[in-house]
């Protein structure tokens, strides 16, 4: 009969904890530009305002940007998970799976030139 807790389990537990804590240790490089990335478009928001996100002439969602925070005001996806995510600050992301849209803050790069 297998026991609930063995000594070996502590090893697994600490590895698990390391994975959980890892993102808090890594220094974040946070910019103040928001990138809205879809399947075949990429839009960079730098000024505050409310933006309509349109893909191939099809309305997907409305995104509000205040300069520090971002939220999805309304969306055409069925479950409205991106709307329920609410306000997201730097370092956070909003993912909308049905519309295949990802909204995130662009990190500051240490490079002057980006070869893309």
């Amino acid at each position: 009969m297998r026991k609930f807790l063995e000594k070996k389990d502590l090893l697994v537990f600490f590895v698990f904890l390391a994975i959980v804590i890892f993102p808090f240790i890594v220094p974040k490089n946070i910019g103040n530009k928001v990138v809205v990335e879809g399947r075949d478009f990429k839009k960079i928001l730098s000024k505050p305002g409310i933006y309509d996100i349109v893909e191939n002439g099809k309305f997907l969602m409305k995104v509000e940007f205040t300069g520090e925070k971002v939220r999805v005001v309304e969306s055409t996806c069925p479950l409205k998970i991106c709307v329920k995510t609410g306000w997201v600050g730097p370092g956070g992301t909003i993912v909308c799976v049905p519309n295949e849209v990802i909204i995130y803050f662009e990190g500051k790069t240490d490079y002057d030139i980006e070869t893309w």
């Binding site: 009969m1 297998r2 063995e6 090893l11 959980v20 990335e37």
Partner: protein, 188 residues
Amino acid sequence: MVKRIALLSVLTALSSVLYTAENLLPFPVPFGRWGFSNSVVLFIASEIGFADALIVSSAKSIIGALFSGRFLSPSFLTGFFGAISAATIESLLARFGFGYLGLSLSGASMNNFVQLIVISFILENTKAFSLLPVMMNLGLISATANAFIASKMGGILFENRASFFFTEETAVDETPGNRLRNRISQHR
């Protein structure tokens, strides 16, 4: 062989019902589930074997998805591949003398990781991995609960003489799990 089929079908039914019933439980973030049905898969991977765990994990994903009306949706795909990978790594580590908690934690982390890989394939973008810490924190709770449920399950199955054993003999050393494994392996 017949006993093995009976046991697997009962466990699959239990797991599917758990999968469907946990949709009624509230979850802190909108896109997740607690995943208590994986406790059955953990028990099978620990006590019976790899092939059976694989069968039950895939069957409960498909049947549960048919019950709750999300067959072939993104959430079904993530759950399906996550459950299969969790069953694989639990069966692998069960041979090295880990306890239920270690098996459950490794299965949960593997499950989350594979789910994020599947989401990345759907989105064609690796930004989805920023959800990993949230999933891991909530996975810690449900993994502990799953380990507790699975550790109790063998005793309950054995106490009730789970009618597919067709036997009346009592255990010599009160080891239901090993006894169950021997019973099953005789009919391979």
